[in-house]
């Protein structure tokens, strides 16, 4: 049934990253430290959700089994989700949310900058629009990383703890495998390992300016791209999917 299983997998991975991070960010609504941040975090969530919808819709078409964006978002089980672990991690405090966003958006910006020249029109289109969005998300996270890192003693401590906490989740962003290598060879996808130097450089610069210490990598979390997730993910899915699954024959 699947017309291009590698492209299906690749598109799902991109879509799931965006969907799950949007879900986490939307938990902030009405809880941000100031109104401007309620607006900013919602805005980032909306951008990512928009990307997710296009990507999941497209994945469904590539698969050719008649699944639409909602079938893919609401009716897959945990091992069928292919997002990286970083995006599913709990929000923690504002510094944690910023660190997660800094790491992800810096990666996504580099990814979209490459994906813009994909031979696949849909992916190229997502990238062309997404590159502007990711640049804004990255700038927002950078600015807050500076403010928190170089703000008060407390904010410095919290920001450093957040950077340390999510550091082990960053290598997975650059994991390359047969899927990414094959699609990169076809000029459709990007092998994320090529994005790493750019990411490292950008993150080094921000951490330094923010007076933050770059963590040592003691371990690295992998598995999301193969559907193996972390313990917090099941709770997220239960909340996200419960209502939709409760009414299997409904449209909304």
């Amino acid at each position: 049934m699947t017309t291009d299983p590698l492209l299906f997998t690749y598109t799902l991975r991109l879509g799931d990253d965006a969907l799950i991070l949007a879900q986490r960010l939307s938990e902030w609504a009405s809880r941000a430290p100031e109104i401007e941040e309620d607006i900013a975090l919602t805005n980032i969530a909306l951008d990512l959700l928009g990307q997710a919808r296009v990507l999941l819709d497209y994945a469904g078409k590539v698969e050719g089994a008649g699944r639409d964006e909602d079938d893919l978002a609401y009716l897959r089980t945990e091992p069928e989700f292919l997002n990286v672990h970083l995006v599913e991690q709990e929000n923690g405090d504002f510094a944690h949310t910023i660190a997660r966003q800094l790491f992800f958006s810096t990666y996504q910006l580099a990814l979209y900058e490459e994906l813009i020249s994909s031979k696949d029109d849909v992916l190229a289109g997502v990238a062309a629009k997404g590159v502007k969005e990711a640049a804004y998300h990255r700038d927002h996270a950078q600015q807050w990383t500076l403010r928190l890192g170089d703000g008060t003693e407390e904010s410095h401590r919290r920001m450093q703890a957040a950077v340390d906490r999510f550091w082990p989740f960053t290598p997975e962003l650059f994991e390359s495998d047969e899927v990414t290598r094959a699609l990169a060879a076809r000029g459709i996808g990007v092998d994320p390992s090529v994005l790493r130097p750019r990411w490292e450089q950008a993150i080094d610069d921000v951490l330094r300016e923010a007076t933050l210490r770059k963590p040592e990598l003691i371990w690295a979390s992998y598995g999301g791209r193969r559907g193996v997730h972390t313990e917090c993910f099941g709770y997220l899915l239960a909340e996200m999917q419960y209502l939709h699954r409760l009414h299997p024959d409904a449209s909304w």
Binding site: S30, P33, I35, I39, T42, L46, Y74, L146, D150, W252
Partner: protein, 320 residues
């Protein structure tokens, strides 16, 4: 407060100029002299309106993570974002009257200022998101459209932007309910239940009946208010009843019927004891909404302090 200290003669002249502006249906601007009562009334009203936008995010945010389709999730996210934006406009409008956002938050958190009592009801099902859009935003628009012609310029201009977005919200709420009402039996029941719970509180959003609303006359004289509470309530009922028929939902009022003599819908008596009870802190979510708000604000204190410290430091460094 921001006013000069004019002589008695000067005061007369200023009052006359103020009243002439109002009479000419022109706008009072922040730089203009205004009577203290006018200023205080506006501060109270704009602040309450701003607080309502901010508190009003909660009942809807309650369903973002559980929205049953991605499109609905996106629309709801955008709506809650709009509410934060409305809050910003309105706090900015209040600031032109000489009161800061931080002061207004303090008044909200210490219960010295109120927000719309409608947000003291819970959103128990997804259909409540539809009912809020249709009924609560519908009532808000009915209230707010005349405010676009309010005599105070910054408030009137904020309302023009807000009203545009609110009418989207109302349509989206209607659309949610339409899909539910025409969906499965469980969905239809969910929609009807939500409308049953939100109908009477929506009617109360226009405030007490005219004969119990002592400030209305002064507010109308000042061009802040353009219609009385009961006039607005009637407009709302007249707008909603035909829409309910399109939705295929009933409104929980057996006395609701068209009155050809009045050219309006008649409706049953409102339980004003409930209104005053909820205003006074006895609604199902008064405690919860304020606690949620204060907890979020308190938890964010270190972030705001960090931003201030960074700005101060950054300024110093640039200067050095």
């Amino acid at each position: 407060m921001a006013a000069d200290d004019p002589t008695a003669a000067g005061l007369d002249e200023l009052t006359a100029r103020f009243e002439a502006t109002i009479a000419a249906n022109e706008r009072i601007e922040p730089r203009d002299w205004m009577p203290d009562g006018y200023r205080q009334t506006l501060i109270r009203q704009i602040a309450q309106h701003a607080h309502s936008e901010i508190i009003g995010m909660q009942p809807e945010a309650n369903w973002i993570t559980r929205a049953p389709s991605l499109l609905r999730k996106a629309i709801l996210l955008a709506k809650v974002q709009d509410e934060a934006g409305h809050g910003l406009y309105l706090y900015a409008a209040a600031e032109t009257l000489g009161v800061s956002r931080a002061e207004l938050f303090e008044l909200l958190h210490s219960r010295k200022q109120k927000y719309s009592s409608i947000f003291n009801y819970p959103t128990l099902t997804w259909a409540d998101v539809g009912a809020i859009g249709w009924l609560v935003d519908g009532a808000a628009i009915t209230n707010q459209v005349p405010l676009c012609r309010c005599s105070y310029g910054p408030y009137a201009r904020a309302m023009i932007r807000i009203c545009k977005e609110e009418s989207f919200h109302q349509r989206q709420g209607f659309d949610i309910l339409y899909r539910l009402s025409h969906g499965t039996p469980a969905q239809h029941e969910m929609a009807q239940d939500a409308v049953n719970r939100w109908w009477w509180p929506s009617l109360m959003m226009f405030g007490p009946p005219d004969d119990q609303s002592p400030h209305t006359a002064q507010s109308m004289a000042w061009g802040i208010k353009r219609f009385t509470n009961d006039e607005l309530r009637q407009k709302f009922v007249d707008m909603i009843v035909p829409q309910a028929a399109v939705l295929g939902l009933t409104l929980p009022d057996p006395q609701l019927r068209w009155n050809p003599e009045r050219g309006h819908y008649d409706f049953g008596p409102i339980d004003w004891s409930e209104f005053y009870r909820v205003i006074g802190g006895g609604g199902p979510c008064n405690e919860q909404r304020l606690r949620h708000r204060i907890e979020a604000y308190t938890a964010g204190a270190w972030v705001r302090e960090a931003a201030a410290a960074y700005a101060a430091k950054h300024g110093q460094r640039t200067a050095a």
